[in-house]
């Protein structure tokens, strides 16, 4: 069973709900991680505020942080190897890595602005 580790930024709350907007990524990741673990997989999220230790002890993560600063977060490791930085993995990626079925990213082209185009060309939705 491959181990998925996600190193997040320090947030006031990891659900993101006491931040200025609901970060659906955080909610999605919470649910996905719970599902993976409940199905016999192995996934873990670290919040910089509650587990700073692992950001120091993990050599790969620490080097990335020292080089690029906090903007490199979130970092995802798969069995200790970096598979993603600066963004959360999608459900498809998580499913691939863990071998556990998750709800697919039906909305992978949806930038999260409900129905209309949000005008953010980088998000690739318009």
């Amino acid at each position: 069973m491959k181990k998925i580790e996600i190193f997040e930024v320090a947030l006031c709350c990891s659900t993101g709900v006491c931040g200025p907007s609901v970060n659906e990524d955080l909610l999605r990741i919470t649910a996905a991680v719970n599902k993976i673990n409940a199905s016999g997989g192995n996934a873990i999220c670290y919040n910089l505020n509650s587990n700073p230790d692992v950001y120091v002890k993990n050599v790969i993560v620490n080097e990335l942080l020292m080089k690029d600063g906090e903007t490199v977060l979130p970092i995802t490791l798969l069995d200790g190897i970096v598979v993603k930085t600066k963004a959360y993995p999608s459900n498809n990626e998580l499913a691939d890595w863990s071998g556990i079925a998750l709800s697919t990213d039906a909305s992978s082209n949806d930038c999260g602005c409900n129905s209309a185009c949000c005008g953010d060309s980088e998000s690739g939705c318009c």
């Binding site: 006031c12 659900t15 970060n23 919040n47 910089l48 505020n49 620490n62 998000s123």
Partner: protein
Amino acid sequence: MLKLYEPAKLDLKKYIFFTGKGGVGKTSTACATAVTFADRGNKVLLISTDPASNLQDVFETTLDNKGVQIQGVPNLTVLNLDPIQAAYEYKESVVGPYKGKLPESVIKNMEEQLSGACTVEIAAFNEFSNYLTNKELEAKYDYIIFDTAPTGHTLRMLQLPTAWSTFISESQHGASCLGQLAGLEDKKDMYKNAVNNLANAELTTLVLIAKPEYSPLFEASKTSHELKELGVKNQILIINGIFEGDAGLCDISKRLVEKQTTALQNIPEEIRNLPAYKIPLRDYNVTGIEKIRLMLKSNFLTDSSEVVEIKGYHKLNELIGYLHAQNKKVLFTMGKGGVGKTTLAASIALGLIARGEKVHLTTTDPANHLKLLVESTENLTVSSINPEEAVKKYRQDVLEKAKQTMSQEDLSYIEEDLRSPCTQEIAIFNVFASIVDACDEEVVVIDTAPTGHTLLLLDATETYHKEVARIKGDLPDAVKKLLPRLRNAQETEVIIVTLPEATPVYEAQRLEEDLKRAGIHTNWWIVNSSFSLVDTEQPLLTAKAKAERMWINRVYDLAKGHIVLLPWLKENITAKTLPKFFE
């Protein structure tokens, strides 16, 4: 008719908690209660968790967080806990070991997330939980008196039934404040006992203190409700500062009595049936043991200390002239509840209209007496935000979104997060942002504001979102635009409002520091409701006027002379009386 507050005649329990809004007299009442019992031969420990505590002045003794025996009151030990300091130490203990091991930007991100209201609450609760459950102290003292009680939010946090056992220990996904508590897991039994002791009516009395005014009474009723819900039901109410002087002496005192009578007749339902007591308004500052002893007994006419000269002040009209000349577009009146923000926001709005500007005025004041002004003036748009509705709507939106992906168990933690002070501020802030955004053609005057912490949180999240390639749950556009706007001193003016008293001034000072951290520039201060500027022969009020001057001068220094001083106003605030402020 209210009965006089005489602690010795009441059935007060071993643990006594005093709670109430800043500036209502918590500290002096707690001190007077402590001294009363100590003088009767009881062993008493008095603990203050108020960061603005002036216990040192009150006892004219240097205090520490270990406990100091008070000279002249042999049975009394006093302890001063500073939650800001405690929060700072807690933050340092979390972050300190990582300095040098993680890059500066990461450390900063951590520090900011630990600068919020949650951290202060946790650190404070952590400290006094200790005093509430310590067996040694329990045996040593007859009474353990706390000035400042835990908020409902803190208690709920610590009561979450499943939080400790499953959530924190098994899941790495801690909810906000609970996540912070993870580091203190070894204290979970202590927290549980503390909450149990608080809720035990045989052990604890909770004393709500208010002044005979709308806003502190409203605040007391809210606290009362929250604490009752959590099982802390052994409550009494003290109304401090009842004016009993000769109302016939002058117009001012007559009006004072009328205002107070109205407030007491309209006392909120929630606290109407609590056992209630009064403490009359005193004409002296409660400093020194002699005056503490007097406080619950009698007046002590005319303070003999020297009269301090006021260093100087501006009129509100001069401030309005400045705002107009500088072409400021977004104005905030900031400060704690009850200092008169709404009234001042309205006066400033009217003053600007008189100078030919179009103004949009918006408020979160639950009393919303701005309604009175709507019809009366051209070029004025008034809107009001009901904070409770804003929060309710925000919660619904969040839960609606969360339900799509989360299990019921996860949802309960989100629901708890949604009760945090941060969430409330952000919900209101979103509504503000949309109002400011819609008003490019007018001057926008806003009577309440988010704290510096919230602003930094928004900033951090905005930056964070930029880094995330696929953005979900994006920051509202209005909020994005508002932040740079607030930091632009050319366009925005933040005016700090306070009263000429110890606690409100200390609180305003902390607010200013928060804003500075968030990169928001402040300049002007308004000191409201001064008795120094009213004509009165009434000895009690004259003495009050004398006592407030050192606070006026302190603000003068803080604001480098950019201070507006306003008189205590005898009239009720209406469309007609409002212009009096800027005349």
